[in-house]
Symmetry: C2
Subunit: 645 residues, 2 copies
């Protein structure tokens, strides 16, 4: 096919996997789009960014500006949740080209009679499309351009700013080239800023040894809210399998009274749409969800697609499991972990359409019960395209729903899940401990194309991971890890009671908790207050009050001259909130250094005063220099400074 257009558009960014993957934004965020746009020769080209929300029929248009080296840029703001589409178009703008050309000839003292006649023709093409005022002006120009007696005036008006603005406002787009279309998925703000607290409802009882219930959880909600958490994540609350149930410490033979792993889902009491009877009723659960909502907390549900051997699916849908010639199903594995109490789903099943449908209906069922946040268990052991499909189905109907991918695996696998639509992703933060590791990882997350599709959620610990650096660590280390997570990443979470109370006994040599709550009830002094709980609450409060901590991508690390001091500058989209965080990575000794403040980004000159206000201690300091002395002690191993200019 012959394409007569003279415009080439390429290298459009952002663009993930050739535009087959949506980039991610939240409401009111900016999308900056760049592209290389070329035409042959030297004519003036114009290029526009076009965008629209899926619900809109017509495109909004914003003219792009040249940066350099044939690149153009423009932006739009995502004001609504859901899918946006954007594309780029370009054209040779003959009117602007004419004005540019005649201007150069006039500057070169050339005679432009012929050019004025051309101009008159151009104006006649647009005179009927413009406003009354503009029309009068154009008719006047047509007249003087054609009258050699008004040559002097014509030459003056030909290059007028007024005419330029009319040309810009009423472009004649001829032989326009249009790019492919690219998509953005826009979430509600919580997708980007959330603070998670995890506990097992079955450990919520006041009475040690007694199985906790949803009703027991009620008394814990106000404290979780007061500490500043907005998302309460419960491990699975479904009936727990009785066949091959796990005993304490992951033993394969449960003893009488052993409660089993909450992830061994399904029993005679039901499956993924049912509630474990010992936790209470569906009504109790809904009441808890509603009560939490009143306190500003959303309950996040665990979505774990697997089945205990006595899950109803096993009998009702034997095709959803892979039966071996000996009549058994091989239990699940996530090497080196073995899940003898769990049968994996057989995703290659010929009956996969019904399987996918049931999985989707399970989500819809809980969404109808008031759940809008799902933490998905081991998503990397289920097919990628299944996630792409199911997340899209949910988002189309319920754009508020958020999905957190619990995949601790190889980088490209984690990226792929994010590309398939996961709202947030667990990360390697849990193991990144040194300054070098943290900066490298943050730059990977925020300075590469990952920033466009992968939203990190930083967890210092989880029920599965008792990291080596917390085992036997002093209080200061816990403060440091929480401060790091909460200031580096806008999405964070903790496996709450264990972290707060600094419980860290491991299975020897492993990064796992001894007497793990995954396999037994635990009992906590839920209302214990300590320095950790105090500072968690304070940091969470600071995050709520400072937008620079409500996003992860706008970060710049600062020189400190000390490998044990990490410092970074963050800012919100409008740059109305700027913070400077300094954290000591030494849990035992004092550390000092000189912080180089980013004077260019702050828009100040060296010698100009800034006030830094420690949002924890409320101490204020006036800094006049680019380099500023800071000293941190293990007793309070961080400064969280707000910058006041």
């Amino acid at each position: 096919m012959l394409n007569q257009s003279r415009i080439v558009i390429e290298n459009i960014a952002p663009q993930i996997n050739q535009g087959t993957v949506c980039i991610k934004r939240v409401v009111d965020e900016i999308v900056n789009v760049t592209a290389d746009v070329l035409t042959d020769g030297h004519d003036v080209l114009q290029t526009s960014l076009l965008y629209k929300h899926k619900s809109e029929k017509s495109w909004s248009e914003v003219r792009m500006s040249p940066t350099n080296n044939d690149e153009y840029i423009a932006s739009f703001q995502t004001t609504k949740q859901g899918f946006y589409t954007y594309k780029i178009e370009g054209w040779v703008d003959y009117a602007l080209n004419w004005q540019h050309g005649i201007g150069r000839k006039i500057d070169d003292y050339q005679h432009v009679n012929s050019e004025l006649l051309e101009g008159a023709e151009l104006l006649e093409n647009i005179v009927d499309k413009v406003s009354k005022d503009e029309k009068d002006y154009l008719n006047f120009l047509i007249q003087i351009f054609r009258n050699t007696e008004s040559y002097g005036e014509a030459v003056k008006e030909a290059t007028s700013r007024k005419l330029h603005i009319i040309f810009k406002k009423h472009p004649e787009k001829l032989l326009t080239q249009t790019s492919n279309e690219y998509q953005v998925y826009v979430d509600r703000k919580k997708a980007r800023f959330s603070t998670w607290y995890e506990f097992f409802p079955r450990s919520a009882s006041e009475q040690e040894g007694k199985h906790g219930t949803f009703n027991d959880c009620h008394r814990l909600l106000p404290r979780v809210a007061q500490m500043g958490f907005d998302t309460l994540y419960f491990p699975p609350i479904h009936p727990i399998g009785e066949v091959n149930r796990k005993g304490k410490n992951n033993t394969t033979n449960a003893l009488e009274g052993d409660v089993g792993s909450t992830w061994g889902i399904g029993s005679k009491h039901g499956g993924h749409k049912d509630i474990h009877p010992e936790l209470g009723s569906l009504e109790d659960f809904k009441n808890l969800v509603n009560k939490a909502k009143e306190l500003g907390i959303e309950v996040a549900m665990d979505y774990a697609l697997q089945a205990a051997p006595d899950h109803p699916w096993v009998k009702e849908h034997p095709d959803w499991f892979k039966w071996r010639p000996d009549g058994t199903v091989q239990y699940a594995e996530n090497p080196p972990k073995k899940y003898q109490d769990i049968l994996p789903i057989y995703w290659e099943s010929k009956d996969f359409k019904n399987l996918w449908k049931e999985c989707l209906e399970t989500l819809f069922y809980w969404i109808d019960c008031g759940i809008n946040v799902f933490r998905v268990d081991n998503p990397h052991t289920k097919p990628y395209y299944f996630w792409g499909w199911i997340i899209e189905q949910v988002k189309k109907k319920h754009p508020d729903v958020l999905f957190l991918a619990e995949a601790f695996t190889r980088p490209k696998v984690m990226h792929q899940l994010a590309k398939q639509g996961y709202t947030q992703s667990y990360t390697y933060f849990t193991w990144r401990d040194s300054k070098h590791e943290i900066i490298q990882y943050m730059n990977e997350l925020t300075k590469t194309e990952q920033r466009e599709y992968m939203r990190p959620n930083f967890w210092p610990n989880t029920p599965d991971i008792n990291p080596y650096h917390l085992q036997g660590a002093p209080e200061s280390k816990y403060l440091q890890r929480y401060a790091l997570a909460a200031t580096l990443s806008s999405n964070i979470g903790i496996y709450g009671p264990v972290f707060e109370q600094m419980i860290d006994t491991p299975i020897p040599g492993k990064e796992e908790y001894y007497m793990s709550e995954k396999f037994q009830l635990c009992h906590y002094d839920w209302f214990k207050e300590n320095k950790v709980t105090f500072l968690i609450s304070r940091i969470n409060q600071i995050r709520k009050e400072n937008e620079s901590y409500q996003q992860t991508n706008n970060i710049q690390f600062l020189e400190t001259g000390n490998d044990n001091l990490i410092a970074f500058y963050k800012w919100n989209q409008e740059k109305t909130n700027e913070t400077l965080t300094v954290i000591s990575l030494d849990a035992y000794n004092s550390q000092s250094g000189s912080i180089q403040i980013p004077i260019h980004q702050l828009g100040i000159h060296n010698g100009q005063k800034i006030e830094v206000e420690d949002l924890v201690t409320k101490n204020c300091f006036n800094w006049y220099n680019e380099w500023n002395y800071v000293e941190l002690h293990a007793t309070l191993p961080f400064h969280i400074f707000k910058i006041n200019k």
Copy 2:
């Protein structure tokens, strides 16, 4: 649509503009393809590279190997000219997965009776597809896998290498995922290795002041061939316009006897399919082309799509020009240059289909006269998609035809022309003079994706460019510039007589030649021999004998410890020819330094002897160390070493 496949394929390389642009190779070159291939969970995946020439019906397949971080690699060789297509497919390989799994369980001392039964089922699926020998083995396995009495033997055979090879050879591809298809255009070898000589036939007369003819050119051919040039490029040979003809030194009023610019094409004597009468007849031209061919030289024709005001097109196809209201056509410009003797084509013409067709037919006409190489004048002032179309039309019918893009303009414009199909491109080499500039530019050309689609052609000078660094330069500078061009780039060219004879008088302050041959006849002492001609011939001979100089991408710069000494290592695809080039950038003084030889790439250890043989002087040196002293004098400012191990 539901996609049940468990495989994701992404990040395929090479891939230009999402696969819409062909990568380039010559016959017998290798294409290395990499991709990220993922599956969920821990099953064994397999992935293949499939490729075929356009003329072939079925795909060739090569299994890819993992590198790291979920990336796989495989290669194929392009053995024929024309278009190749490649794609990638991936699948979970249940047979290999079974063998891997049972092996791990056996190593873990687990009982694998059930797994053996599964294995027997797997084997039954493939037993009918294998060779007689393999079949006997598989039937034997099925038998022992199902017999508990042969458990010991079954366990041994289950993990056998023999079975592994059968599984690899007869994959059962289920739920396979296939990538998009990508294209390669394969040229004849000359696309990658060519040595151009440019002169104006009208200056070929023995008699000063007399207009040269094709017949005059005959006597020059043997010398051009003996000097080692394989491509003889003539500026346009078509009738030169008489209206607005240019005079000497680009004056706008030709005097009686002025011959005009050869690029002012078209007069009463005809247009793009005609010969300027003073050069001779079409028959003369064909004779010259044939004679050149006998000497191993191809004549390259200039393809300049523009018209003198008296070109026949102007009357026959007025729609192909843009007429202004005053009845004139604005002459061509390539700011700051003005071409008052040339009318540009109006590419927006409604009659563009006939225009494109005529342009194509012009190419076919000259191809039928024996021309297979076109140097295209100012292609960046004609639409990109026109080039994409016309080059594809030509290549489909005449895959031998090569196009050199004469675009000295902004980088992305030059890249775009290469992407549209140009075989070779003029480059910024003409202006890259310092070591830093040269290395940076070479790395851009050979280490970025440009290596896949843009083939540089290095010209130290052209009739349009008399670079400042050659103006008034000593002989050594000419030697240096030729040596740089000819060893850095496998495609090179010179504006011959002027370069050889070091004619460099500029228009004052400009990078243009005074009394430029573009606007007048010149007279040369064609058979003059000097050091420049001697060394050009010697270097051309070395290029013919050493494959490492017949390609541009395999280059590695070496440390020299001296900003005036540039050194690099080059190698051919099979690494059977390795060279080390050292060039002094100082045209006046001696320069010395220590060259760090690339011991890893050479596959030697420090202390191991290599012999470096200077291919110009025939001096040989034995080097035993990683660092080796080199000293160059302005009299012979380069070493071209062949490495003998």
